[in-house]
Amino acid sequence: MTDMEARHSVPDRTQGGEAAIIVEHLTKRFGDRVAFNDVSFEVGAGEVFGFLGPNGAGKTTTVRTLVTLIAPSTGTATVAGIPLLPENGSAIRSRISLMPESPGLYLRLTVTENLQCFAGLYGLDDVPGRIGRALRAVNLEDRARDLCGSLSKGLRQRVALARALLNDPAVLFLDEPTSGLDPVAIREVHDLIESLRKRGVTIFLTTHRLEEAERLCDRVAILNTTLRMIGRPDELRARLFRRSLDVRLRAPLGDPRTLFGAVSDVEQWEQTSSGYVLTVANPDRAAPVLARALVGAGADILSLGESHHSLEDVYLELIDEDVEAKSR
């Protein structure tokens, strides 16, 4: 099974699948400041769930709330099957793992010593076996005796991931796992996340790298204090952007209004610096009709195809809406 097949084989968790996280109307305030407000979503078991948002949107605070480091102001949640209540903090934390943005390793201790400490904190049995498996999962067996202070940033991130895997967590929270890494280290972390997906680990991935979310996540949620949108990346695109055709011509049309008006599928059009963008109900049906009309009008077509909106377009559209709303 390829990675893409694996990703699309994950069922839609909002359609009645088993939920690893259930969040209902969760809000966190620090005095007058609202960190996040009335947030509700579900994450299915085995799902890679992306949590996106600009700096200060409340992503890290949401994660800290779900891992019981911070108490919610209002709302309810269930994490790894346990209600998010103060008395359940220790029980929830024993079933999950958090890899924060900074690896947070003891730099004067070796890789193994760091993992031994956390194995003890989780009260795990077969500590050498677990450490060996965790290090194998992140390809770090040969660095087990190295002091963490001697490792590169990318390797430290891998040790932090090994630490997060020690207790076989029901839910793994990754908070900006590639922040500050070089492209090679980023690719390594992405590969590790892909391998965890194949093992069926539920991953809650906080990031502001949109290409990372698009590549790794089954579904994404976009947070900007409130939850702006949630769904598969392609669903978000479809919800936010109407389907359209990009047309590039050697020279502008003399009378585009008449030409595009004659094509029944074209709902509206606009001229851009490089050609025209036409909003259509069905691009597959409209494209051949349009091509014939353009050729008939003597236009030299350089390219004609459906517009592709990235997750970044979705994100920027939503965040721009928020900025505009605030400025009004």
Partner: protein
Amino acid sequence: MSFSWTRVGAIVHKELRDYRRNRFVIATMAAVPVVFTTLPTIQLIAADTTNKAVSLHIGLSLLYLLVIPVTMPSVVCAYSVVGEREQGTLEPLLSTPVRREEFVIAKALAALAPTLVIAYAVFGIFLAIAALLAHPVILSAIFTGSHVLVQLLFTPLLAGWAIWVGIAVSSRSTDVRVAQQLGVLGSLPPLAIVALMSLNVISESAGLAIAFAAALLVFDLLAWRVVARMFDRERLLVNRRS
């Protein structure tokens, strides 16, 4: 989930490993005993052996030794929470099942163990040097009265006070240096009472020493609970409580 000595042991073990490889901690643990062994030893050897002066010299010498269990753990404990925060290890640590009572007792034990080893070793060295070099009158005076009892009793109790003050200050600080300064300052008050006893300003007796030690013990036990309550995950991470 109940109190777990396994989790306490994991932190203690980690702390002791970290101390061993931390030059600052090693230097502190080495320098403090050297200073506080040299001064009382010189004082003792050069002491006047007239009756009134003997008691004063011994009191002063032994007081120097009690500075070790006050200063050493307060410096180490002041680093215990704010240091974790500064090196980014606090969040992963707090996201484990460790409970607040386990965390603070682990930090306390990790500071107490080397403190007791060093403080008692230094006292042993002091007694050995006294046996070899001090005037017999002084040597005899050391073992009469409550001097040895005060040393044995107050070393762990003063260390306990210093540890809880250090951890409490560290939990609320954002800067290691400020935490260490406040930690040392806060650990001094009970030493002042011991000083008054050692210098015979308060009439020294075994009964008084035991009474004061009992009070300090009760305080140390209560302090564990108080400091554990101060140890709030949310406050530690975001430096404020909603």
